[in-house]
Symmetry: C2
Subunit: 286 residues, 2 copies
DNA sequence: TCTTCTTACGCTCGGCGTAAGTATC
DNA sequence: GATACTTACGCCGAGCGTAAGAAGA
């Protein structure tokens, strides 16, 4: 299971074509054919049907494994090189849309910072592969409970902030006058599913334990303003950290009182911090 | 980063010797030397000091990555082969010491079953690499909260049982007459650390949020009886599922009432179940 | 001086490209 | 018959072993 062969395989599967994959990878189409044949021989099972080119059941399984594997391989290489290389001058941050606020924002150095806003699930990979020095991720969890992040590599996480969670309702919503809301009362409400910008419904479903939280509208991307616009227009509910939910026009923020949940922000980094990243983390801790 | 080179590297690091690693791997010592040189060139950094042979900082990082990487590689290969191969006749279970009870035990087929009792952390790897068809893992968690298992490969987990958690005290302990105990009152107690046999202190620490739970005595292995003997002798406290804690001689089991925690048992398997494993899971679900 | 890793060198085999073959649409 | 994957074959380089070299204990 040479990583090269694996990479060829995922490319072929993605493009559903040997010749297109060959072109993308800079091989001849013959070489790609030989790669796939070698993999199939090694694993003792056909991985692709030809004409049309599509993964077999065994191939589907391999595809599920291949992504994380190649990612981890990249992460390992990046981590080792970074450990050995001289610390860089700049500071690259990868953050979720609602994670960079408060102390973290205040303590950011004033020069040499680059910030990338990404969806929650992409942050660990970004940090692991060295595309970012530090990640800031947020989400809802039980108090003092760490967030559940995809583990693409051995990363260190540390909670840096917790605050109450508000439910965002359109102004005039029947529940908008309540002083507190229980998640159980909202299981069957219309919800906005915006895993990139807001809190994934999955996390609410997990916190409540079980089903419900059907998505009325799906919103991709990392723009919180759009999410709030949709909430104000009554397309569904969403949750936000209390300090952020307060000043969204056209909406009312009501504290979520049960189950006991907090909006938690975590810092994600590799064990080996140096340069500006190290100073920023030290400042945050001190 | 050829996996072969990686495997050679971890072997050399483990044995702290090129020649010993060569012998173990069936290479000449020259080949091992070339492997390490190739890796170091590829990664652009020295990984080992020679004489004595020990990992450099960069090498330490690589070691952290290498284990999970090679494990995932094994898991991928096993998964693909299993998907393609004919379903096997027997049923291999990998279980933690206190996970195989109740319905799961009752519904087990009467022939062709092999059970291996392992520490919690080893079960996912066992299932992922195909050494077991199914895993049963237990631990404490918030109600309806999934257990946090090391993710070595894309595995499917499903909760199959939850029950109250008891604290096991030696008979005559000052707190033994209480009707319920709060975890917060026990932070500074003497605890038994038996990650293989019982609930890891780490999980209690996480549930309580913060420090404490110092280990008075460490007990390795997967034998619950020994753990209870130690508890009865007053070497420290431990927690167990209520149904199990009740009948341990020389001890008193007191329900843990806060924070709200449950002893949860989960089924771990790959997506592709067949043969006896599939029937067993279906029986458990139905 | 002995042990242990490194380097030199030659051989073999793996892997790529060219080109011919074959199967499907 | 055109398109797209497979197979044949030759070439080059990667990787292994043998053996000589170097460096530390």
């Amino acid at each position: 299971m040479d990583p090269h062969l694996l990479r060829t395989y995922v490319t072929v599967a993605r493009l559903a074509s040997f010749s297109a994959a060959a072109q993308e990878l800079g091989y001849t189409q013959s070489a790609v054919s030989q790669h796939i044949a070698a993999l199939e021989q090694d694993l003792g099972a056909p991985l692709l049907t030809r004409r049309p080119v599509a993964p077999t059941p065994a191939g589907e399984r391999l595809l599920e494994h291949a992504g994380p594997l190649l990612l981890r391989l990249d992460a390992a290489r990046a981590d080792v090189r970074r450990t050995a290389a001289a610390p860089e001058a700049g500071l690259h941050l990868a953050v979720t849309p609602t994670a960079l606020r408060g102390r973290a924002a205040a303590l950011l150095p004033h020069t040499g910072v680059r910030v990338r806003v990404l969806a929650r699930a992409e942050i660990p990979a970004e940090v692991a592969t060295g595309a970012a020095d530090l990640g800031l991720v947020d989400g809802v969890a039980a108090p003092n409970d760490p967030l559940r992040l995809p583990d693409v590599a051995p990363l260190t996480t540390r909670g840096i902030a917790e605050e109450p969670v508000d439910v965002v309702l359109p102004a005039g919503h029947p529940l908008a006058s309540r002083s507190g809301l229980r998640l159980g009362d909202l299981v069957d409400a219309r919800w906005l599913d915006a895993p990139g910008a807001g809190v994934p419904l999955e996390q609410l479903r997990a916190a409540h334990g079980g089903g419900g939280f059907g998505a009325a509208l799906r919103c991709d991307g990392t723009d919180v303003r759009t999410l709030l616009t949709l909430a104000a227009a009554g397309h569904g509910l969403t949750v936000l950290p209390a300090s952020l939910a307060a000043d969204a026009p056209g909406t009312v923020a009501v504290p979520l009182v049960a189950p006991r949940l907090v909006h938690r922000t975590e810092l994600v980094h590799t064990g080996t911090l140096r340069g500006p990243a190290e100073r920023f983390v030290a400042a945050l801790a001190g």
